[in-house]
């Protein structure tokens, strides 16, 4: 059995950032990667996807974007290259092609069964990602057999879809991006809209992510959030990364021809039923967006730098037609595909340590898991709002590496 003081599972941005900090602290460690570096970014994303954060915001410990298009958005091959380069320059001890199949606590250690033999460590960092599995609601069982069911992890591009219309369930970042490109490819698109987060791509001449960073929203700590459980479950904002910095919202999708309906509430006998709550979820999202914009305006006023930015404005409220459909006969209306853009969750099926709650979520305090020497990274709002962003890995890895180091010292004392 091979061993290391610390093992990091996953060589994505989180795992590599942690590795950098462990190296800086001279803590002997390896990074076990089931595939190659940035595996999920290579294999589990659709073709057109770009990061939702601008290039300058990909700030990792000891590494950053060095190209000319600082305000652009990386394509997936660019993200893969960026992380590969990071692993090289930081000399991360990555062992690729090692899939962890089981983790058990054994005395003072963790024992890992992998596709390439067993490992033992004192300290274990789970950096295997927050989006390993697509969450598909149980009512999907009612989908007619003739309709193809896909998750965004399986979807690649519009021309690979079966013939016919497409119903997309969920209007967070994934759902609105797929609706936009599938409609643009000439398909009929029905978008089921539950609670969502509306955001303009740019505001007062800057990217919305620039503003979130500037006003300190991304650094808000998990212990300072008003309702952390709700904050952690918040859907991703309706954003798309495009060279033209397009805003994608429900109004623009409607104008492009996407049919908006309420949250998918039932699926029986080939018929989909939609909630009558569409107007309210849109009102909630409009009000929330305007509160964010008001916070930005207040920051600008307080900064005394008003002349550096454009004028404040508010986008039109989301239009919800009185004739919004409450049901759709999928078979009769020729819907060939349903895409479940209903969120993602981590896969802990290999984790044989009792640290999951009744929802299957890992119990942790800002990434410090409820078991000695066990850490997790990259979960939504884990230590701060930016924890699940590439830009959040640096601060989280610094904090957790310090904690990990401290617990090694305590054990040695």
């Amino acid at each position: 059995m091979r061993s290391a003081t610390a093992i990091v599972i996953g060589a994505g941005h989180s795992g590599l950032a942690m590795s950098w900090h462990l190296t800086a602290r001279s803590i002997d460690h390896v990074v076990l990667e089931r595939g190659e570096i940035a595996h999920s970014w290579r294999t589990e994303r659709w073709d057109s996807l770009r990061l939702l954060t601008p290039n300058w915001q990909s700030r990792l410990p000891g590494h950053g974007y060095a190209g000319a298009d600082r305000d652009g958005f990386m394509t997936m091959p660019e993200v893969v290259h960026f992380l590969q380069r990071y692993a090289e320059v930081s000399r991360a001890p990555v062992i690729p092609g090692v899939r962890v199949t089981q983790v058990r606590r054994e005395g003072e250690s963790y024992e890992l069964a992998t596709s390439q033999g067993a490992w033992r460590c004192r300290q274990l960092v789970i950096a295997s990602g927050a989006c390993n599995l697509a969450s598909v609601p149980p009512l999907s069982a009612g989908l007619p057999a003739k309709v193809t069911s896909l998750t965004p992890m399986q979807y690649r591009r519009p021309d690979l879809l079966p013939d016919g219309g497409v119903m997309i369930v969920g209007a967070s970042a994934s759902g609105v991006q797929l609706a936009r490109e599938i409609q643009a490819a000439g398909r009929r698109v029905v978008l089921c809209v539950g609670e969502h987060v509306r955001m303009p791509r740019t505001y007062r001449g800057r990217d919305i992510q620039w503003w979130m960073d500037a006003i300190g929203a991304m650094d808000l700590g998990y212990d300072a959030a008003e309702n952390i459980e709700r904050a952690r479950r918040l859907p991703s904002p309706q954003l798309v990364g495009t060279p033209e910095r397009a805003t994608v919202d429900l109004n623009s999708l409607r104008q492009a021809g996407v049919e908006l309906v309420g949250r998918l509430a039932g699926l029986h006998d080939g018929k989909a039923q939609f909630s009558g709550s569409l107007a309210n979820v849109c009102a909630l999202a409009d009000l929330k967006m305007n509160r964010l914009l008001a916070a930005i305006d207040a920051w600008v006023t307080g900064s005394g730098l008003k002349e550096r930015f454009g004028d404040p404005h508010r986008d039109a409220p989301t239009v919800v037609g009185a004739g919004t459909k409450l049901s759709l006969d999928l078979t009769a209306e020729g819907i060939g595909t349903v895409i479940w853009a209903t969120g993602y969750r981590p896969d802990y099926s290999w984790l044989d340590v009792p640290v999951l709650d009744r929802h299957g979520r890992i119990k942790h305090d800002g990434g410090v898991v409820d078991a000695p020497g066990l850490y997790v990274m990259g979960l939504p709002f884990m230590r701060r709002r930016k924890s699940s962003f590439i830009d959040g890995a640096a601060d989280d890895a610094a904090d957790l590496a310090a904690h990990l180091h401290g617990s090694l010292d305590r054990a040695a004392a």
Binding site: G266, Q273, S275, S277, N280, A283, L284, L287, A322
Partner: protein, 189 residues
């Protein structure tokens, strides 16, 4: 900004938010106690006139009784060749929705430290009665649409008041019941 996110002692909307938050915290730790059963019984009187009786319910792991047994009557108006002893059942549904949303507005205002002065909800629902009369199978029996209008006077700005109403819909049981499908099982002796 006068409104804060914590309950403000100066705000008196008559809602015991501390008790509600305490209950929420307790139920997060004991979700089985959150399982409630609501009940009503209804007896036919004559014609379309009936009387419902509402008393016991189940919750917090036990049968719960109350000091008063309530009755609610329903009938149909004279244009339906009835005697109009009481509101129609569909009007009671509107009343249920209005009461649920209004209670929510008060509770959320208290939680957000917003003093209410008056809250009035006005509701109107469309119905094509060709459905219930069996004239046209393409017409549903129930409402085509429901419109709710709130007039609220409160110590808060317009968007904060709109946010109260939006949050009330988000957390309303009756709003959920009328906007989403529910399985109904009916048995007969």
């Amino acid at each position: 900004m006068t409104a804060s996110n914590s309950t403000s002692a100066q705000v008196k909307n008559g809602v015991n938010v501390e008790a509600l938050l305490g209950a929420r915290e307790a139920l997060e730790k004991a979700p089985e106690a959150a399982q409630f059963k609501w009940r009503a019984s209804c007896e036919w009187l004559n014609g379309t006139h009936s009387r419902s009786t509402i008393e016991k319910f189940f919750g917090l792991g036990a049968e719960q009784s109350r000091d008063t047994t309530f009755t609610v009557e329903a009938d149909h108006p004279k244009v339906f060749a009835s005697e109009d002893h009481a509101p129609t059942p569909v009007e009671l549904v509107l009343s249920g929705l209005a009461s649920c949303l209004t209670a929510g507005v008060a509770a959320i205002a208290q939680r957000r430290g917003i003093q209410l002065h008056s809250v009035k909800a006005t509701l109107e629902a469309d119905m094509d009665i060709q459905g219930i009369l069996g004239i046209d199978d393409d017409v549903r029996n129930g409402f085509g649409a429901i419109r709710v209008h709130f007039d609220i006077r409160a110590d808060a700005d317009e968007d904060d008041i709109k946010a109260l109403v939006a949050q009330s819909q988000k957390r309303s049981a009756v709003f959920d019941i009328v906007t989403n499908p529910t399985a109904v099982f009916v048995t007969v002796n």
